[in-house]
């Protein structure tokens, strides 16, 4: 799966990868029930991919919210509509920035580390050693990381959104002097739990979590067992994840909105 014949063109290679990735997803899903035996491992991975990504997610969420608050203030002040900045910050973050930026950050922070980790396990025969110890590496190594990614992404996205809105509030209300009550009441009046929070934050980030985790474990598991193979797989994880996130975002937006 890792070594592609040189004469294949980009399209064929991409299709092969996508197909192999899809089959790999089926393998993982089949292994998920068995991986419940390794629940402790899933918890451990949730710690690594989820809790360890919190810092970057929180910092970035705060700054995204702050810059959004600042930009919107200047644009909306042209129309005398700065009171709406709370609404626009919230909707922009819930619908797009929260899930998408969280997923991109997750791909860079956790996705690469999953790929590199599994790739190194493959390169140092740890995967083979598990096979030899009669432990299914899909159930023990791959499925827990995949599950952890799927679970962690919506949670991270919620944290990102909360911090983003806090950042927007910080800039809008505390710095630029929009009325606190106006900021919140406009937001609460317009933002809809189902349309914005559930559709945006939950559905999108669940889909992104599945896709990014799948790409990360697939690239790691099928990497060539050499150091350059791992480096290449790590890069591919980021590139493929980013493209997949934005493409799926468009499709989901078209369907959900």
């Amino acid at each position: 799966m890792s070594a592609q014949p040189a004469q294949e063109n980009v399209v064929t290679r991409s299709l092969t990868q996508i197909g192999a990735c899809g089959l790999f997803l089926l393998t993982i899903l089949a292994a998920v029930p068995r991986s419940f035996r390794h629940g402790r491992e899933t918890v451990r991975q949730l710690w690594f991919v989820g809790a360890m990504s919190l810092t970057i997610i929180m910092v970035c969420g705060l700054f995204v919210g702050m810059v959004l608050g600042l930009q919107l203030y200047y644009v909306l002040s042209i129309f005398g509509g700065t009171a709406a900045s709370g609404t626009v910050v919230a909707i922009a973050i819930y619908r797009e920035l929260g899930p998408v930026v969280t997923a991109l950050l997750f791909a860079g922070r956790a996705g690469t580390s999953i790929t590199a980790e599994i790739g190194l396990m493959r390169a140092t025969d740890q995967i083979a050693a598990m096979e030899m110890m009669a432990v299914d590496p899909i159930a023990y190594v791959v499925a827990p990381r995949f599950l952890a990614g799927v679970i962690a992404m919506p949670l991270l996205c919620c944290v990102f959104c909360a911090l983003g809105i806090f950042g927007g509030h910080l800039v809008g209300v505390n710095w630029l002097g929009i009325d606190n009550g106006t900021f919140w009441s406009n937001m609460t009046a317009t933002v809809d739990v189902w349309k914005d929070v559930v559709n945006g934050v939950l559905y999108k980030s669940l889909a992104f979590g599945a896709v990014v985790s799948l790409i990360a474990v697939f690239q790691g598991y099928t990497t060539a067992p050499t150091s350059e193979g791992v480096a290449y797989a790590t890069t591919r994880t980021v590139v493929a994840s980013s493209i997949a996130i934005l493409a799926i975002d468009f499709v989901l937006t078209a369907f959900l909105m």
Partner: protein, 287 residues
Amino acid sequence: MSQRPSYAVGTGLFIVLGFAALAYLATQTTSVANIHQGSSYTVDAHFANIGQLKERAPVKIAGVRVGQVQSIVLDPASEVADVKLSIDQRYSKIPEDSVATIFTSGLLGDQYIGIQYGSSKNVVAAGGTLALTKPAQQLEEMLGKFFGAGGSADNLGGSYTVKARFTNVGALSAGAPVKMAGVAIGSVQSVKADPVKLDAYVVLAIDKKFSQIPDDSAAAVFTSGLIGTQYVAIQPGGSPEPLKNGDELVLTQSALQLEDLIGKFLVSGSPGDKKAAADDTKPAGKH
């Protein structure tokens, strides 16, 4: 395993934090009332014009949300919009002569249905109809009445100039229209600050066709629409003498800041209060 507690605790904290964030987002930043779908009953109301009313728009009594718009269909027979309101069962004592009105929340906000209680002893039953309705007021109409119709200045043939002084011209610039009764009759030729009197000195070029404007007419700086450009409005006076080339308009009203205007307007938002807002914009006769 010795590492287990730290992972478990950390991961647990992470999950709790995530769900806390979700709960915060869902409850603090959204209209939670939208989720509340307890038992409700449906009432019909027919409107001649629903404006921008949409499904799931709130239904309010005394400004408090009591339900939402369930469906909007055009009744082909009577050419009125048949709006079904889903109202919380707790508010089942609505008199049948109550009036359903389509309001706009704020200037740019969504529309909603307000129900003003009537005095009848009979309450409207589930599936009943609120007979008394007021259609949506189009914001454009309201603003049109309020500010006078917009429209650009014609390309003028001959014109004469009159001067006017304002303490504040707002964002008025040369080329802005001069209007009377909402119709363009000329344009602003120049806007200069007077270094001696410390006010704005504005030269208006008015079409020669309008040579019978009384010389005690007032000039005011108005804004076309909400976010439009500013223009000078001439409000005719009662003097028998017409304005002549080079005359100065003595009665002027400076630009009202849009913020003040919206502030006053937003307080009520109902069309009845429009007159009060309009009163504030009458010429104050400042030099």
